[in-house]
Symmetry: C2
Subunit: 339 residues, 2 copies
Amino acid sequence: MATLGDVAARAGVSISAVSRVLSDAPDSRVSAATRQRIVDAARELQYRPNFAGRALKSARTQVVGLVVPDITNALFTELMHGAEDEATERGYTVLLGRSDDVRPGGEVIARLIGEGRVDGMALQVGDAVLPAGLRDLLTTQAPIVLVNSSSPDHVGSVTLDDHRGALIATQHLLELGHERIAFANGLPRSFTAKRRRTGYKLALETAGVRVPKEYETRVGYTVDNGRTALHRLMALDPRPTGIVVANVNAAVGLLGEARRAGIRVPDDLSVVTVHDSWTAENTWPPLTAVKMQFYTVGRTAVRSVIRRIETGETSDEVVTDPPPELVVRESTAAPRRTS
Amino acid sequence: MATLGDVAARAGVSISAVSRVLSDAPDSRVSAATRQRIVDAARELQYRPNFAGRALKSARTQVVGLVVPDITNALFTELMHGAEDEATERGYTVLLGRSDDVRPGGEVIARLIGEGRVDGMALQVGDAVLPAGLRDLLTTQAPIVLVNSSSPDHVGSVTLDDHRGALIATQHLLELGHERIAFANGLPRSFTAKRRRTGYKLALETAGVRVPKEYETRVGYTVDNGRTALHRLMALDPRPTGIVVANVNAAVGLLGEARRAGIRVPDDLSVVTVHDSWTAENTWPPLTAVKMQFYTVGRTAVRSVIRRIETGETSDEVVTDPPPELVVRESTAAPRRTS
DNA sequence: AGTCCGTGCTCAAACGATTGACCAGATCCG
DNA sequence: CGGATCTGGTCAATCGTTTGAGCACGGACT
């Protein structure tokens, strides 16, 4: 690959002149003719600035890391798109990482930051409290922004309006006439589960509806967790006529298991989920869902990381601007009047 | 972050000594006592080698790029896992990239290689011929290995045994007693589509079964493509009793559309797909699928890239070792004896 | 005529890690 | 006892880029 030196030789000028011209330095002080020669030479040699050289000198990589629990989870598609769009606009690149079960998670992040591979990170931890090692990282000055979670000792986070999402889902069932509304939630420690819970509770309370304590399960967000939740809820007496599922993957599992158990959706049971994704469109029946604004979260998170990198400012933001949006499909209907 | 110089100062030795000890140079020639002081100092300062410094000097990043059409496609989960496992074992890191429709694709790759961000790449292009710009790249000496496709002027590729996968799927329907077996394939130009086609044809031929030419559609691999394929095939007379779908995403769409059209699966129609993924387990009915060995492809691709980087050797490999594996679920059954 | 300034460049010192060349002192061998 | 060899290190150049400092020259001003 061509270096600055190669371009300089071809244009008959010094390396500094080339560097200043090609990096658009404001006070390059180069004549139009020389500038043209440099630009031509660079094009002819297909010059591209060497990443390592630049990063070494400037102590900046113009890369932000984005770590999510599972890259292939359909939920994160939009988040990644948002992150990439924002990064591109600001001259940064996104480096994707997984924080899945193989490695402790903290190690990946420590390496990326410690070795200077990224300037900052947007980090969505899995459905659990922060691992101890991670905690250390966050308390340092490293430019890390948490996504969909927060930590007492850490400022810098971007979250969805989970409360509102669960509220809207629950209200949808209430408006259809349901009263025995259950809630298949995530693990008790999960940040998002806590916030979704308040939305569910508030909706019921506002409507003056009371349900047994057992109507809330707290199993988790995976497909299998959804299956488990269905069994628990359908073993109750009286059975719920509607279920709000806190996560679309769990909803997919729950729906499949209902089918297997001979429970007809939406005739016997209405199901609405928080989160939308292409998988929700392709279940049978297609899932009614509350679309959460992951795209905006991705953009906001990257913007926040970059602000942190460049100015040092931190902030905690909740994405409320496009509000969560109810997408009615075919998994919800009015309850049968059998009682 | 601590540098080699910091560690050297703390241990009271020269930078060279530290470098040699920490990078396990074979002839470090350092006394045990000094070595210990260096190791201790490095640990105390939490030393991590700076990525840019190392890359600049050695002209190696120890990073391989993995570019797939859509990172969040469930199909690529295993491929990425395989790639990461292989890379980790060999001291490399994987950098994930998307080659989706937003950017031409070639530009991303040219940047990654040209700027020296990666030492080599494993590249799965989308369901089309190689864009012109890409072609240029491949003919250079850049260490690029194609995944699930190949190019006449390029040596270096790793592919699935698509032929065998389609063969197994078709044979499954034949063994159930189907004869009117259709094939919902990918676009005509697609490399994988061509190979899957030969498997389908061979199975029918071997069994002495003949079907109308219209029984093969060549719409594509997306969910919507699957819907389209169903309509085309069900408009034929006589209708097929079984469909081999060349891609699991298309199969999900096809299945959903069948449901919507009132076609009962597997009673009226059997559906089997090439590729397995968690989405295939969660359709209704769960999809019978031929599991392709994406994990091994990922490993093999990265191994091939690294070999290319380190020794310059190229190769074209087909992953046959764990052969494609039939996973029987509930979308296939014997045809009804109505004819 | 001497001073000052603006223009259009070049020089050289970093950034952090690697690595071939070198060197001082101790040991060994004939 | 003198030279060779080994041990345990250090020195300094280098990778490609950025950037503050400096320099030569021409013109304007006093």
